[in-house]
Amino acid sequence: MKFTAADLKAFLKNVVQVIEENKDYLSELDRKLGDGDHGVTMSIGWQAIDEKLNGELREEQDCGRVCITAGRTFLSAVGSSVGPLYATGFLKGAKVFQGKSELTGEDLKDFWVAFIEGIKERGKAEVGDKTMVDTLQPALESLKSRYEQTGDFMVAFAEAVSAGEKGMESTKDLLSKRGRSSRLGERSLGNQDPGATSAFLILSTFLTTVNAVQAV
């Protein structure tokens, strides 16, 4: 498999679109648990990335630089909780891509491992805290173990996305322990975590993007 800088940027473009489509939904989830801005925040951040994609990243071939710019841009545009989290993901992942304009399956696997580890380190949340980590951690485990078994990124990532989806759904039955919603106690039950949802959207958008590249 061959994944180019153009493909990486296509992925980011796809996320921009998916976030716009899910903006209201993400805010709606956050209104139930938090301060109702998750969709707004994600949109502001990804629109800022979109501007970079249409501007200074237009000719960029270094996948590492694309990710650094994406991470820094997102952070500067939003702050918030997800700013440092997703930005750290991109910045950690950028190290894997540094200097590369074409990425192998192994690179992609390493990127997502670094991305998720970075977020975990930054936020110190654990599985069961009702955060995006509930999506990301099962995805990470599945990705690592299936890649080890198969050596096939596509297979491994597809399963990671499914695992992430289950993790996302599991947040409905969890009590909040992190972020703005932790004060809610019992009342947080039944509502899906917005960050777990946006994390799943990002992962699944990556899957569709690689699948599309693959299909060409």
Binding site: L33, G34, D35, S76, G79, G83, R180
Partner: protein, 334 residues
């Protein structure tokens, strides 16, 4: 929800623009980041810098509290969202007069991460010593056993006041951090929400309450509280809030406090004074002395309806700091 705004995406920047133009004698915008504001007056070499910040939508908090005796600078975030490290860093660099900078901010996941990253960068890039003071006054946000998980709400006013007054008086970094942390430890807030606010971008109410309902412990961003119930008369609401505070921070007869009855946005001063009236009665009945009172909008949640009651227990040091004059665009004390 109707708002006097232009493009919802520009509200924060336009607000800051208006703010800076309204008070050129008080504040100025920094060059790299328009979300970075510092006092327009020259601050003394060797004075500890006090930096505040957080999401916008809480005006007068936080940007209204930049001035003599309060903060030297503020980093302004999007509505209800912590500012990113950049503007925090630029303010830090500007207000560091060789004695370090103290960050006072509310204990929210986002603020903790962004202010934390900024502090690391300030140390790395400029060798600035940064002291961190997390505000955790919201009694409703976590049980006492997990007090360190509590959020910061209106009580941040007193913590900022303590830090700002101490820095003004020439305390060193360690001491400013010490008194600000003491102020936080001595401060408790309980709030009640009546009507929601809405983000300009979504226009959706942040929560739903029936026409006869109130929500005790409602968060400062519309996060659900600890108990929904029928709207009670002001006297009973005041009793509930004060009793929850006193259960958490018992006060002996003869102890001294400052009181803040804070409006969340659309609640009238009339209602706030009616609330204060009962708060004063309860404290007086218990022999607790009110040293100074603040009633008004000190930390809002856009146009949310409701209010909060904050008590800060005063020892001699905190009394002196609370009494010290201040001169900011949205808060002046002689």
């Amino acid at each position: 929800m109707k708002k006097l705004i232009n493009n919802p995406n520009n509200v924060v920047d336009e607000m800051i623009e208006g703010y800076v133009k309204a008070y050129p004698q008080y504040v100025k915008q920094l060059s790299e980041n328009k979300r970075s504001l510092v006092t327009a007056k020259e601050t003394r070499e060797g004075k500890v810098g006090v930096l505040i910040g957080g999401g916008s939508g809480h005006e007068p908090a936080f940007m209204g509290y930049v001035g003599d005796g309060m903060a030297d600078g503020v980093a302004v975030g999007n509505i209800f969202a912590s500012p990113p490290p950049d503007p925090i860093l630029e303010v830090t660099r500007t207000i560091d007069k060789g004695a370090g900078v103290v960050y006072v901010y509310g204990n929210y996941a986002g603020d903790v991460m962004n202010f934390g990253m900024a502090a690391d960068l300030a140390d790395l890039e400029y060798g600035t010593k940064v002291g961190m003071v997390l505000v955790t006054d919201d009694v409703a946000s976590a049980p006492k056993e997990e007090i360190e998980k509590r959020r910061g709400i209106a009580g941040e006013f007193f913590v900022t006041k303590a830090a700002g007054a101490a820095a003004e008086k020439g305390y060193d970094l360690e001491d400013v951090v010490r008194v600000a942390k003491k102020a936080n430890d001595h401060t408790r807030t309980m709030g009640v929400g009546l009507t929601p606010c809405s983000l300009p971008q979504t226009g959706k109410p942040s929560f739903e309450l029936e026409e006869n309902e109130m929500e005790i412990g409602l968060g400062h961003h519309g996060e659900p509280g600890i108990e929904k119930g029928e709207l009670q008369p002001a006297d009973q609401v005041a009793e509930r809030l004060v009793n929850d505070i006193l259960a958490d921070m018992p006060l002996e007869q003869g102890e001294k406090v400052a009181v803040l009855v804070n409006g969340l946005g659309s609640t009238t001063r009339m209602e706030l004074y009616i609330m204060f009236r009962r708060v004063e009665q309860i404290l007086t009945e218990k022999g607790i002395e009110i040293h100074r009172s603040y009633v008004g909008d000190y930390s809002t949640s856009l146009e949310m309806g409701g209010c909060s009651v904050t008590l800060i227990k005063l020892d001699d040091e905190l009394t002196e700091l609370v009494d010290q004059p201040a001169d900011c665009p949205m808060y002046v004390q002689k």
